[in-house]
């Protein structure tokens, strides 16, 4: 019996060799796959061994930071300001992926970026876990907080809205607020059940507090779209603000029985300068201008030149992690593929299928203020190491597009100053500064109240200071005036903050 016993020994040896070979496959060949597998909860524990870097506003305050805990996850991500910054900064939950800036700079914040390899090697010798890097934002404390505060106490009782403030000459994002918002601390808690419940509740909320209305949603822009009409008229037809165009109380479409009227109570003379038409926001004038003189193709070409039909892209955000939405003029042709004149007339005043994000509105105002050069938006000023020394350079401003030349831009500035001086945008005035802008009241279905819009900018001595867009969802009549008031306050808050420095 000894021979088979020896063979049994060999069988066992073979079985163990199989185990050994398989363990080699699992623990050596597949090790990296398994280690970085999305179902591997160890990653997050390792991640939380390190103090994740801060996200800092322009005034040096931490909007997101990590505090030490006694948990197995050693650091808790906290957001001291809660709601105002939530949609733009995002949050870093334990179980799910981070969002917005927390996601965009996830590796750097976590200390795992390629540029931080030196820190990690040092850590291997010192045994101390290095803290992640800090992200310095361009956001202005005063503008961000004013925008949040004023949106929430708007006088039209609108419970949803957004505001965006840009530096026209650089494209730096100075404020970006979406209302309603949420407390990101509820989602970053280490109690993952509570976080999941909080997320489910936010997601079910009919007001959709998780949506970033400033960047990620588009709405009919209403009369703010007349900025595009004016730019097309000046560029293609050679008109200026003082050119006289046709106006009137009614506009009857050629070869059609359809008649468009101006808003009730608005007096629009039959002959009116383009500047005056913009100032009082005369619908019939811009409809006639677009339908009879500019035409569909040129309107759409001009809209594209301003950034419509393409996604606004923040610097270094190739994958649109900031979640920017595409503004569009929509379909203006009929079923036969030819121009649909009523649709074109409505599109001329930012209705029908035209949709614009507040960010796009602010970019348009900024373009006018910046002499026709639209800067690429950015929100990250610079990256700093844990010791606050800067890593790499500051973000360099870049021209994204140039839809109008400096001369047209200058004339349009003049027209938009007039809107705030004596027209629909009076509420946006700021003492001692030149403010230009355009209001918009956008119909929004039969039953619903109109949206209120304001896009505008401030200048001093010919230099652009800030450009704003304010959106009030279903604010009703007078919503655009309220939006203009809030826009003025946000710009003033930023100017005051800057001046006091």
């Amino acid at each position: 019996m000894n021979a088979p016993l020896r063979r049994v020994g060999v069988v066992i040896l073979v079985l163990f060799a199989l185990l050994f070979a398989n363990l080699n496959y699992r623990q050596a060949y597949k090790a990296d796959d398994y280690r970085n597998n999305e179902h591997n909860g160890r990653l997050q524990v390792t991640e939380y061994q390190r103090s994740r870097g801060k996200i800092i506003n322009a005034q040096g305050e931490a909007i997101a930071q990590s505090v030490a805990t006694n948990d197995s996850l050693k650091y808790l991500r906290v957001y001291p300001f809660k709601e105002p910054y939530a949609q733009i900064v995002g949050y870093k939950p334990v179980n799910l992926a981070a969002t917005d800036i927390e996601r965009l700079q996830n590796l750097f914040l976590a200390g795992e970026d390629e540029s931080q390899i030196g820190d990690r090697i040092t850590a291997m010798f010192t045994g101390k876990q290095p803290a992640g890097g800090n992200v310095q934002l361009t956001l202005s404390k005063a503008a961000q907080e004013t925008a949040w505060k004023e949106l929430n106490r708007n006088r039209k009782g609108s419970d949803q809205g957004a505001a965006v403030l840009l530096d026209p000459s650089t494209g730096a994002l100075l404020a970006s607020v979406s209302m309603p918002s949420y407390d990101p601390n509820l989602l970053s808690t280490h109690d993952t059940n509570a976080a999941t419940a909080a997320y489910a509740k936010l997601e079910k909320d009919p007001k959709k507090p998780l949506q970033n209305r400033a960047l990620g949603e588009v709405y009919p822009p209403g009369s703010t779209f007349k900025v595009i009409d004016s730019a097309a008229a000046e560029t293609y037809l050679g008109l200026t603000g003082s050119s006289v165009i046709k106006g009137g109380d009614n506009y009857k479409l050629p070869q059609s029985s359809q008649v468009f009227k101006n808003s009730t109570g608005e007096v629009c003379p039959d002959q009116i300068t383009m500047k005056e038409a913009l100032t009082i926001s005369c619908n019939t004038a811009f409809m006639q201008l677009v339908v009879e003189q500019i035409g569909l193709d040129r309107l759409q070409t001009m809209a594209k030149a301003w950034g419509f039909e393409s996604r606004p892209q923040f610097t270094d955000d190739d994958d649109n992690l900031m979640g920017c939405a595409v503004s569009t003029t929509g379909k203006i042709t009929g079923p036969d593929g030819k121009v649909d004149p009523p649709a074109l007339a409505q599109s001329a005043i930012g209705q029908r299928n035209v949709a614009m994000s507040p960010l796009q509105g602010a970019l348009m105002a900024a373009t006018v203020a910046n002499g026709g050069k639209q800067m690429q938006p950015y929100v990250i000023d610079s990256l700093t190491a844990a010791d606050l020394n800067r890593v790499g350079g500051k973000t360099q401003p870049k021209v994204a597009r140039e839809p109008i030349n400096a001369q047209v831009a200058s004339d349009m500035q003049d027209m938009m100053f007039s809107v705030v001086q004596s027209g629909t945008g009076k509420n946006a005035q700021i003492d001692g500064y030149e403010v230009g802008g355009k209001t918009g009241t956008a119909e929004n279905g039969e039953a619903a109240q109109e949206h209120g819009w304001f896009i505008g900018f401030t200048m001093k001595n010919g230099r652009p200071l800030a450009a704003v867009a304010v959106f009030l969802n279903q604010a009703g009549r007078g919503g655009s005036a309220e939006a203009a008031r809030i826009g003025g306050l946000i710009m003033k808050a930023y100017i005051d903050e800057k001046g006091s420095k």
Partner: protein, 497 residues
Amino acid sequence: MTAPAAPVPTPANAGAGQSARPRTRRNVELGLLIFAMALTLVYTGVVEANVAGKLTPDFWVPVAMLAAIFFVLHMAIRFLAPYADPVLLPTVALINGLGVLFLRRIDLARAKPAARADYSVFAGDGFRQLGWTLIAVVLAIALLAIVRDHRALSRYAYTLGFAGIVLVLIPAVLPARFSSINGAKLWIKFGSAFSIQPGEFAKIALLVFFAYYLVRKREVLSLASKRVLGIDFPRGRDLGPVLLVWALSLMVLVFEKDLGTSLLYFGMFVVTLYVATERVSWLIIGLLLFFGGAFLAYFLGKSVGGPFLNFSQRADIWLDPFKDPNDKGFQLVQSLLGLGTGGLFGAGPGAGQPTKVPEVRNDFIFAGMGEELGLFGLTALLVFYLLIVERGLRAAIGVRDSFGKLFAGGLSFTLGLQVFVIVGGVSQLIPLTGQTTPFLSAGGSSLIANWILIALLLRISDAGRRPAGSTASVRLGGVKIGSGPDKLQEMPTEVMR
């Protein structure tokens, strides 16, 4: 009958052979045991430093208790089985010790961080397992004391065989709420506090019967045969017993929903059959029957469902665990991720996160340890197991009687096969089944049964290495039982091949 049977012991021989006596090698055993305990001490020290953040003043206490238990066993072996294999005890002690300390490490991880440093050495699963170790070792000593000659067991072969079958079938017959844990009906549950796994004991009882039965039947099973394709196949009517055991193991597969146990019993039987008859044909028949049965069960599970469903589900998980990583495949996926995270060197004792692996104290303890010890640590563990199995087979080769050979060979192979089934299961080599990892997994049944298995191997290795003149183990309660059953004594003790 040509080989010289076990030489008749004579007192004169014993006296004269004093100088030529083989060394007992008990001091080697003691030295290896001290080395094993030193390894476990280092292990638990590193664990405490990593998990609790500092080395507590009493971190050595569990190791000291383990060492005391194993030292008592060592002393017992000096008196009860002085010629036993010196490697078995230290190797098993090392694995058992690492198991206890790993369970304590899990206890620490589950405690609140602030309380870890002060976590009592007399609490948690670690201490519970230490208690089971004590009971298991006491029973092993008792077995060594009572069974002075392994051949005595063959007198109870039918009783033990019957008991084995009953033990196997109890969980299958019991309603699921008394016998089912995680889908496998392998248990007898006494409330929620306590449950035993009768199959662990059944395998030893069944082996006694197999060994006895096959020693008696080996002539007819090995000689009467037909030759097909150069391989000797047995006659149809001689296939009866093997078909019976095959049916039994398939019943286990279907009604206890456990491929591992089924594979274990069947493999155990086929291998003892092969060793007894030296006919490779039995291995071929056995493998064909088993894989045929498993495939049949798989396709029946796919088409009919019912009692076969569990097996086909497990097979599907094995084929692609990442298909349903959060539900069905969860356990295996987490096990693989743990192994992968460990990589070559592991996170280090206490530095990983084995609590991420479900059932890490039972079925998945090997994966949990793999995360911290890495491929190198697991390879060492495998080598320790291999050492135990090969030493057991050596005892089988060394012992003179056929029953002892078959019994020791079967015990060793079963142990090795069980390690293969569970380690292969958690590392996705074969479909995962609810086996315990010998000496590592939390739980008394497995630990006691496997220590009894080790005690039997010690007993048989002692018999094999004992000089012919020694009379150390021919008495039991004053009655001479060395002769064993009549039939056995007449058997040839060695096959001349």
